[in-house]
């Protein structure tokens, strides 16, 4: 029975991939074909695009006979809608192709099929009619059987935008900016699981420097609604599950936050650019949303199994665990761009497959722009402060030196707080110069530029008792390898500070004032340099 017609744009939820669509086609000699579809993409009010990953029977049929019928379920009320289509053309490049391709790239990377499972073309169809299949669902017997209404509205989001932009504008430093933005997203807009990552010094990875909703230091899996932290920690590639080996500490977490989430709020978790939702957003510098993760992953795994059965497994790699939430059903990642520079990625996720609608995408894009500009502004101000010439730096150093004259150690600065150097606590730091990696008490702590910075601070403290340092002197220290401009130093210090809080709370970096911080150490430390594998 044919039913009520509708506008294509009113069915956007049907195209989120939460419930697979069905396509019926027919060959030129009159043989029908029916199968599931992996992706129906809304193009405009009169067109949809279907993904083509394999030149299969469906594709051969529409090359011969352009008509198709697609059935899509609405994911909220499960109603079935019929789209009658006519194939128009296929696209193998351009914005539409890139957008559809990114989504497949995410699933491919999560299921270890990067480069193997990919979009061949975006097949564009004209929509001839849209109608509900009347009678597919019997009337609900009670209101309980009806799907809950989806609440979303511009007023709530506008207040959220107002709050976030206000916090960004008032933030005195980068840490406050990031924390304030994620708090506001949670408190006003309900994005309770979010993270911000910044590029590392090589630019091929992103490092998590702010999270919300993944627990904090010492938080267990129970706080995240999970029963078994140990199980979780063992089934993902966790930064802290790696022991020291001959090739350096590997802390890549693929799609995002993994085991690390259970113990340190995910700070320090890394994502390879190009991997998963977050890495793909960074690589393409484009927002990406993946909904119906469960359905998409099942589809991807089915293809992976078939590839293995066909003997092509050599092109496959290990499956990448999903980001923080074990049951994430929707992920949205947005690149943070200041002019043409990637300053980070903000990602939100939810266990609700319908958590993010088009409206969310629109205002999150606005917020992402604000956060990106805020980060960029912080970096400019930071560098300006440091570069305010020799005067500012010299003055600061003079102050330090003046204070140091009153101490027993000629070259040491005055400690901000007297460290407790009792022997009751002791931390053994080991530095591996091959990859600038620091371990504390046998556990991985941090690496790369933040690792070098920490080692510099610890050595100066150990050799001279010095406890106060400036950002400027770090910038001037060529051994740290900071780039001459946009060095991201503040982000690296935030990462270092948070990793210490999570892993070694007896050693702290405490901001004193803008561009200056103190190293506080409880108990005693020992420092040792080792070669990899030693």
């Amino acid at each position: 029975m044919s039913g009520a017609s509708a506008r294509l744009e009113d069915l956007s939820a049907c195209f989120q991939g939460i419930i697979p669509a069905i396509i019926a086609t027919c060959s030129a000699d009159g043989e029908p074909n029916v199968t599931y579809l992996s992706q129906v993409y809304y193009v405009d009010s009169r067109h949809v695009a279907l993904s083509c990953q394999f030149f299969n029977k469906t594709r051969r049929n529409v090359d011969e006979n352009p008509y198709a019928t697609v059935l899509v379920h609405h994911p909220v009320d499960f109603e079935l809608w019929r789209l009658r289509l006519r194939f128009q053309h296929c696209e193998t490049e351009g914005e539409l192709f890139e957008r559809m391709s990114m989504r497949i790239q995410v699933i491919a990377s999560h299921t270890g099929m990067s480069g193997v499972f990919r979009l061949l073309s975006s097949d564009v169809y004209e929509v001839l009619s849209v109608e509900r299949m009347e009678g597919f669902l019997a009337p609900a017997e009670s209101e309980l059987d009806l799907a809950p209404p989806v609440s979303s509205g511009p007023l709530t989001e506008l207040r959220g935008v107002q709050l976030v932009s206000g916090r960004i504008a008032r933030a005195p430093d980068l840490d406050s900016l990031l924390r304030g933005a994620l708090e506001a997203l949670d408190e006003t807009l309900g994005f309770s699981h979010s993270m911000i990552l910044v590029p590392d010094d090589r630019g091929d990875r992103l490092v998590t420097i702010a999270t919300r909703g993944y627990g904090t230091v010492g938080t267990t899996a129970e706080a995240m609604g999970r029963a078994d932290a140990d199980t979780r920690e063992s089934d993902v590639l966790g930064a802290d599950t790696h022991s020291r080996g001959g090739t350096g500490a590997e802390v890549t977490l693929g799609g995002g936050i993994g085991a690390e989430v259970t113990v340190g709020g995910g700070i320090g978790a890394e994502v390879q650019v190009g991997d998963g939702t977050i890495g793909t957003a960074a690589e393409h510098r484009h927002m990406i949303k993946v909904t119906g993760m469960g359905s998409e992953l099942r589809y991807g795994r089915a293809i992976r199994d078939r590839i293995e059965e066909c003997g092509d497994a050599e092109g496959l790699s290990a499956e990448i665990p999903l980001p923080g939430l074990p049951d994430a059903q929707a992920q949205l990642a947005l690149p943070l761009l200041a002019r043409d520079r990637l300053v980070g990625v903000i990602a939100v996720e939810s266990e609700d497959p319908l958590a993010f609608d088009e409206w969310d995408e629109a205002f999150l894009q606005i917020l992402a722009n604000q956060i990106a500009l805020g980060i960029d502004r912080m970096q400019d101000e930071e560098e300006q402060d440091s570069g305010d010439g020799e005067d500012a730096g010299t003055k600061a150093e003079t102050e330090v030196e003046t204070k140091s004259q009153s101490t027993s150690t000629p070259t040491a600065a005055t400690p901000v707080t007297a460290p407790d150097r009792s022997l009751e606590t002791h931390h053994a730091f080991v530095y591996y110069p091959n990859d600038d990696c620091v371990f504390v008490d046998g556990e991985y702590l941090i690496r790369n530029v933040p690792g070098k910075i920490l080692w510099k601070l610890l050595r100066e403290f150990d050799e001279s008792g010095r406890t106060e340092f400036t950002n400027r002197e770090l910038r001037l220290d060529e051994s740290l390898g900071l780039p001459p401009v946009k060095d991201n130093l503040e982000a690296r210090l935030i990462l270092l500070r948070k990793r210490l809080v999570a892993r070694c709370p007896g050693v702290r970096l405490v901001p004193v004032r803008r561009g200056r911080f103190a190293l506080e150490i409880d108990g005693a430390i020992t420092l040792e340099e080792k070669e990899c594998g030693a």
Binding site: A24, N56, N65, L137, G294
Partner: protein, 157 residues
């Protein structure tokens, strides 16, 4: 012929999709509400809900050509059977038993992928039509390489 190892799969709680076409080769489709293997695999009865299969039935009256996809939601294992419908009539009590059993199994398999029972229970199922299909071809349809190839000829390397 449907190989015996597929009998159980076809009659389990897999999604059953039906494709047909009209005289102008315009395709149409609907969800079926179960299937039963007949004649030791030479035939198949597929059950079409009256409420949603008017177009499909009109096509079958016109040209008899049918494609039926069987897909397991949990892992997308899918086969497609093609053939000709030789009988089409209102489902009887014996068919009703199959349909009721299928609905229980479907609820279980859809629940595994997150479709709530409140939807499965409301899905159109009765009255229904029984379409007897003479099997002419069976194809692998699981997504990935080899999809669309005749069963047993998926050309593994």
């Amino acid at each position: 012929m449907i190989p015996p190892e597929l009998f159980e799969f076809i009659e389990s709680g897999v999604s059953v999709l039906v494709g047909t076409r009209d005289a102008r080769l315009f395709p149409d489709g609907c969800r079926a509400i179960g299937a039963r293997v007949e004649d030791n695999g030479a035939g198949l009865t597929v059950f079409l809900p009256d409420a949603t299969s008017a177009g499909v039935r009109a096509n079958l009256e016109d040209n008899r050509r049918i494609a039926i996809g069987f897909s397991r939601p949990a892992d997308h294992r899918t086969i497609q059977i093609k053939g000709a419908v030789t009988r089409l009539h209102l489902a009887d009590d014996r068919d009703r038993e199959c349909i009721d059993r299928y609905r229980v199994n479907l609820d279980e398999s859809w629940s595994m992928v997150g479709v709530p029972s409140r939807f499965t229970e409301r899905a159109a199922h009765w009255p229904a039509w029984s379409a007897f299909v003479r099997v002419e071809g069976i194809f692998l349809q699981t997504p990935g390489p080899g999809a669309g190839a005749p069963l047993g000829q998926e050309s593994p390397k």
